[in-house]
Symmetry: C2
Subunit: 376 residues, 2 copies
């Protein structure tokens, strides 16, 4: 009987595992890491081995985080392994970290993502029926680390530049450029790592829904050479170092008709300020979840809205948007759009249903924004 | 008197800080993070705020780590801040993590680096008089994230490709290619993030010490489509997916005379196996800290060494090296070189003085290896 019993045990073990657990490792995990696991109903199970710890918790990054409010207390098993399963999470990418006896640390199972001014953990919750940011078997553009010397900052800087499929194969073709900025506490890696901007463009281009373009993603902070602190010199870096450098290093269409600027949150404010006060440089502007606070249509952005007809002739797109789940941003963005509308200024207001101040909102913003660019 | 006293206190605080502390934030820190700090004598001070923790330690990654053996116990201050200063460290890049009540976690002050199968912290110790891997104000190549679909693995894969300065400006020029692999537990990001391969090439090229080349850095692991585990399919991915893809997507000189393969540790073994058993594909092979274990000159690598004269005519460079501080690797590499020498096989043996099984050895290996390539 014995061999048969052993065989049964093996068969049971193999058969039981999937039945106990409908979850899969998050796509944001380190390759091969089994936890965190995302269940089909979007609950997430976290796990950490910490036999000597007194208390372990999962802390979502920020109040509107789609994982929930947290912190979620983890329960300790006899083997020193702590676990917790959250309620169903909102789809999209969520920053989080673990609190081990009160110390904020990364989950070793997760890749790291630069946000909150540090490398944090992150978990991706799939959205049913939504695949516009997936890695598909379509032609892929290349994301290039582009190092340049900034005279303004007096230091080397790194930007990432998405070059669309075909860029190398068509060595005489020139391309329009979208400058695309991250939010506060993030950096030039955010739009690719968290935002999946390259895959969004790949998929839009494969479907014929957008024009081939370069996307330049720089670090949104800069101090002047010699200065240790603000005033912030990012605008000066963009205008004096980044754009001339990109126009020299890449085959761009180097005029206002073929240049856009957009950003999320802090980057939205930068896009509005830099874009609207330099109409000779940009003709498309996008503010993702960061428009409208303290907005006065008569005086804002150097009085660019004072002559509505002139603005409407000159600026091809002013895109304002937010998620319905980020109330303050949504309210102020809609208010700005309303004021512009009353003043006869053409702008587009796009809201993402149910998403908050998180990357899912900004992925969808880019997916809506990019097809509106450079359709001349 | 009171205003004067306050002023004095401020002046003292400002004046004392540098005198107490000759250290600077490590270049591997998150931007703006003050700790870890590296002293001029290469001691390192680590710091973590963890009021509720019972024990906090610094754990260097691996036995031969240049930070020392560790773990280093941190001492808790009245403010709940734990600190420790290590003995002087070996120059170069060292993986480490913190143990908070026994749990291995990242240092929030550090950038993260993929090693040991996870994202870890790392600290860079400058080497006096050594600047070949610094970011200098020279023309910079671009590191491109190159996504390709692997038929062998049945999945999308990402490799990084360094394109030298001038690649875009000379759209008809074709380039030789070095395939360059990381070690066990690392990934395709290692050679740029930890190894600074792009800056090493930039600096070599600016000094006229190497020929312009592409450097392709792929992930050194692969499972066959449908398989959940080994046998490892990396060799098949390289030969059937990666090289044909790179030759199609980039302007390469697509022949054996213009193709090299090298790697470190596990990657050295891969370079030897793939390179030496495919002499129609590669003519330069480099084994950084990973040559010679169980080496038999008569049978190794499909008998490629059986005909010494034929080998010497065909293989332009077989580079074998190690640091003197990694005894087992150094011994076996020298033994392999010795056996080859006795058999009349031409190879080059290069040792790095004092460095161990760490990235400083491999940076120096690349700096020695790259100038020997493609001098035809």
């Amino acid at each position: 009987m014995r061999p048969v019993m052993v065989l049964s045990a093996v068969v049971c073990a193999v058969a039981i595992a999937p039945a106990q657990d409908d979850a899969r490792p998050a796509s944001t995990n380190v390759r091969g890491a089994e936890y965190p696991r995302v269940h089909t109903d979007a609950r997430v199970t976290f796990r950490l081995k910490a036999p000597a710890a007194q208390k372990v918790q999962v802390q979502p990054g920020g109040a509107d985080n789609g994982l929930g409010k947290g912190p979620f207390d983890m329960a300790k098993g006899a083997d020193g392994v702590w676990t917790v399963t959250t309620p169903p999470a909102v789809p999209g990418f969520h920053y989080y970290w673990l609190l081990v006896d009160g110390v904020a640390v990364n989950d070793p199972g997760s890749e790291t993502f630069f946000g909150w001014g540090k490398q944090t953990s992150g978990v991706e919750i799939p959205e049913k029926g939504t695949d516009f940011y997936d890695v598909k078997d379509v032609p892929h553009g290349q994301v290039r680390a582009y190092w340049y010397h900034s005279k303004v900052a007096g230091s080397p800087r790194r930007a990432f530049v998405y070059c669309p499929p075909g860029y190398d194969a068509n060595p005489t073709r020139r391309y329009p450029v979208l400058y695309l900025q991250h939010g506060a506490g993030e950096d030039e890696r955010g739009w690719v790592s968290q935002g999946r901007a390259n895959f969004i463009l790949d998929n839009l281009l494969a479907a014929g829904k957008a024009r081939p373009m370069l996307v330049v993603m720089d670090w949104g902070y800069a101090a002047k050479a010699g200065a240790k602190a603000p005033p912030d010199a990012f605008e000066e870096v963009v205008l004096n170092d980044l754009i001339p450098g990109v126009d020299a290093a890449f085959r761009t269409l180097a005029d206002r008709d073929h240049r856009a600027i957009a950003g999320l949150s802090m980057g939205a404010g930068q896009a509005l300020r830099i874009g609207l006060t330099h109409p000779d440089t940009f003709s498309y502007v996008g503010a993702f979840s960061g428009a409208g606070r303290m907005f006065d249509v008569r005086t804002a952005y150097g009085g660019v809205f004072a002559d509505a007809a002139a603005f409407n002739r000159r600026v091809r797109l002013l895109w304002i948007g937010a998620g319905t789940g980020e109330e303050a941003f949504h309210t102020s963005a809609r208010a700005m759009h309303g004021e512009l509308d009353r003043a006869g200024i053409r702008s587009v207001f796009v809201e993402q249903q149910g998403t908050a101040h998180e990357w899912q909102t900004w992925r969808k913003a880019l997916y809506d924004f990019a097809p509106r660019l450079f359709n001349d």
